[in-house]
Amino acid sequence: MNVRVGVFVCNCGTNIGGVVNVADVVEYASQLDGVAFAEEGKWICSVDYLSKIKESIAEHKLNRVVVACCTPRTHEPTFKSTIKEAGLNPYLLEFVSIREQSSWVHKSNPKLATEKAKDLVKMGVAKAILLEPGEDIRISVGKNCLIIGGGLAGMTAALAVADQGFKVDLIEKNSKLGGILNKLDTLAPFDIDAGEIVNDKIGKITKHDNIKVHTNTELEDVKGHIGNYKVKLGNNGNTEELEASTIIAATGMNEIEPQGLIGYGKFPNIITQLQLDEKLRSKSLGKVKNVAIINCVNSRNEERGCCNIGCLVAIKNAVTIKELNKDAKVHIFYRDINIEGEDVNYFKEAVRKYDIKLIRYPDDGKIEVFGNGKNGALTLKTYDILIGKEFKINPDLVVLTTGFQGDSTVEKLRGLLKVSANPDGFFQEAHIKLRPLDFANDGIYLCGCARNPKSIRETIEESLGAAMRAGIPMKKGYVEAEGIVADINKELCNSCGLCAKTCEFGAIEFVDKTQPPNVIKALCKGCGTCAAECPNDAIDIVHYTNEQILAQVDAALEERPETKIIAFCCHWCALGAVDIAGVSRFEYPTNIQIIRVMCSGRVDAKFIERALELNAAGVLVAGCEFPTCHYINGNDKCKDRIERLKKKLSKKNIDTSKIWDVWLSAADGPKFVATVKNMVEELKLGR
């Protein structure tokens, strides 16, 4: 079929038309190869004009559409649905931004602004000619959830998933559900018995038809992806296989024994906070008269951060000791009290009512405990920074509030689930702020102390949240992804597996070096990092193919390449900064021609090389500032790639001073403008 491109150029009232000679651009567009129809409109996003676009598609038998107007960041969905209504595949649209990238930023030079608008339209048409129909991708998702870990988080999530009508397999490596709560006495700040909560949850779980509990069970193997996990469970040497649609990791945490610290291990009456909880729970503490609780042992140091819950636990157990023996002396040695919000009341009230002594010791952690020879009696010595002198007591029990680490199974699970964890064995969420309960891989979620130490309240909140995250695809029955995905050419592929390692979303299944990997399209986010990294050029990205991007480069540099800078901008922050420069009407030189990619990770070295071969004045790669990347770390990989390219070119004696990069936030309009101005100046351009 012949390619017939329709070009619609917007005046945006006078926003574009007041600077750019729109009629001229339309005339120019109509002469371009492949263009069957070109027209201007006052507001091409208006309802009237959108129907006109639909009529024109029918009348002129258009099969590709280029709109030249504002920014794809706000208006792409509108035009996509319009051409879809006209019967065209929505992937056959190319969006050209002549307002943000020309009329608004080259106001004082209408002639050059018009030239640039023409170039942008030409680049758009060049790409449009090569566009292919795409389709949204769907995988069906069933209604079974596997929950790993039967502590409070796992149990709470299990009940919430089951209450939605989905089936749950809840696996627990120990013989009893309850996790760390099975060792705790009471729960702060609510003064609830830990055992009671566990029994209550176990009761509800046992009665629930939708939950199957597997105790003494560990995960042996996981294959597949969201909607279709094949899971192998191990139970004392027996294996069981089952299927799951989604997975929640609620593997909890363990206390780190502070071997060799502050006399731990040397004296029997130096114990950890968790050991104290166990003694209180089993009522086996015995009579103590003088208790020293030391906070921040083995945490808030170079190895690990704050344990989050230690201050609250310390005060809770201090209260219990006082309730057992109101004459006992209890000192809490602390660095900073990390008790916030409402819990401050609980803390203050406890300190006041039970006369608990608080001693602030220095951040360098100087506390010495030694035996004083009298049947197990200890001496504790430190410096009280509030009084400003040495402080000494003779406690009969020393309790160390120590740090935590993720469960010992995390090391294995990390590999099985293809997710990351930090050195302390806590799982890494997809984004610490905005996707706290997701992993980067769709279909797997996390909650509670598997992320980092959590209070009871936070654990419950997160567990409900994880049940929602897992519940959404099961409720819908499918997951859907945009059709901008990786496509592997199996003939060019030599099965090296680099793409699978590069992908942060687990979207590439690599079995071994005997067969090409497979893209799980519904998981692919379309960043294109794998395509840019592939040593054999065997991967392409639908809608951002090598051929399409190179066609844009070629079109941009067809005339007067020595005056032009080709800029590859990511759709998110870099284009955001370009748009802000536009909205703020910051002027910058017209030399820059922007090519949009979804992520800077997509920018292949050969795109840059092609621009240089065609004698471009310069190349700018613009991505999200670090550490923000909408595809986790595509910007990092791009930056490394640019460095490698520069080294390679230097060896060939090719001048690399034309290759620039800039890493922007979406508010960085001024920085983008400054970069363009610098480039123009340093590369001695000017038209």
């Binding site: 919430a160 916030e340 706290p436 309960l437 519940g471 550490p627």
Partner: protein, 454 residues
Amino acid sequence: MSKSVLIIGGGIAGIEAALNLADYDFQVYLVDNFPTIGGLMARLDKTFPTNDCSICIEAPKMYEVQKNPNIHLLTNCEIRRVNGTEDVFKVRIVKKPRFVDEEKCKGCGKCTEACPVSVPDEIDNKIGGLRKLAYIPFPQAVPNYYLIHPDCRYGKMKDEGACIGDCIIDCIQCRECPIALCVKACKDEGGDAVMLWQREELLDLEVNSIIVASGIESFEPPRGLYGYDVYDNVITNLQYERLMNAGGPTQGEIVRPSDGAHARRIAWVQCVGREKREGKPEPIPYCSKVCCMIATKQTIVTLEHGADAKAYVLHNHLQTYGKGFYEFYRRAKELGVRYLKGKPSDVFENPKTKNLTIRFEDLDKGEVEDLEIDLLVLSTGLIPGNSNKRLSKILKIELNEHGFIKEKDPVNAPFETNVKGIYVCGGATGPIDISESVSQAIGASMKAAIEVSR
């Protein structure tokens, strides 16, 4: 038929709850008092402990809200009345006039260009940002419609040059405006979207459940506290956030309000709002959790901007409770930030240089010290949103002693208020960071979804 939910508040918690419930096939009515969603997060420059750009990560979610067919976005709206039982709540909403027809506004900004009147931008306060009377709150605003200040009607801004000619007719009667420049500018663009005669509208809805995500506010220090509002170079942490922002009034330059010079020595005072004065109780009787990390973030960004800058943080209990927080604090220390235990007893200004001297007791050394600086940042705490009281009356939900919305029982009935079918999440529950707000919003959505489907 799909179930419906009303979400009150379009900050990050409301946005997250809306997106999750919309994906769960709920009809979502997302109501915000302000003309745009985004909440407090949209006003921040960076987020701790990763220094992600705040609007860069929030704006894509805001666009998703706008695109989602299950979400009905009601900005510039207020809840007026709620009646109902646990199954169906009848809600009356007032849509305040924007004086711009949302169906006709193309977001082109010609009205702003035409408007001759600039006023201080609410979000920039004393650091000098201005906005026009015809404006959008910020470039990434969702929805991207402009609005006109109510004072622009009745020819009131004529003396400011906003109108040509006189008018004595009531705008509401007139229904056209031949004199306002913004109206003319829009018409010249072929738009005709500015309607100074717009009136408030009433909307009635029926929903199955309600999530209160009305957010939290930053405490405004009283005049004189550490020299605030008396000395030029004393600002709050929220104002500092705008100073750091490349899109802010100084384009990210850290300059002093007094003379526009770059600030080289900057100190942060923590726990502002927790002072007991003249026998009065503390204005904020709880720890606001996030201010220590906000200060840490601000010092890191400052030192990364200008390597010769010096940063001091005067603190009491340093809150490093969350994942990666302590590591973040260590990074600041490695960059050279000096953390000093102690609270200023006094702040003096040098009337000539406008530099400030802080007098404080360094608890580590046990000595009183004087520290001379160029700029003082008050790390103010977080206080209940000013709509909490009104919402508590309208929804018949209880507040806690501090004025936050009370959760009935965080262990056995998380996110529930005392009214069945009404849930709470995010800053409305108390001081909270973005990550926890998001987790709570998702959790509260789950609660609402399960209860409604029962």
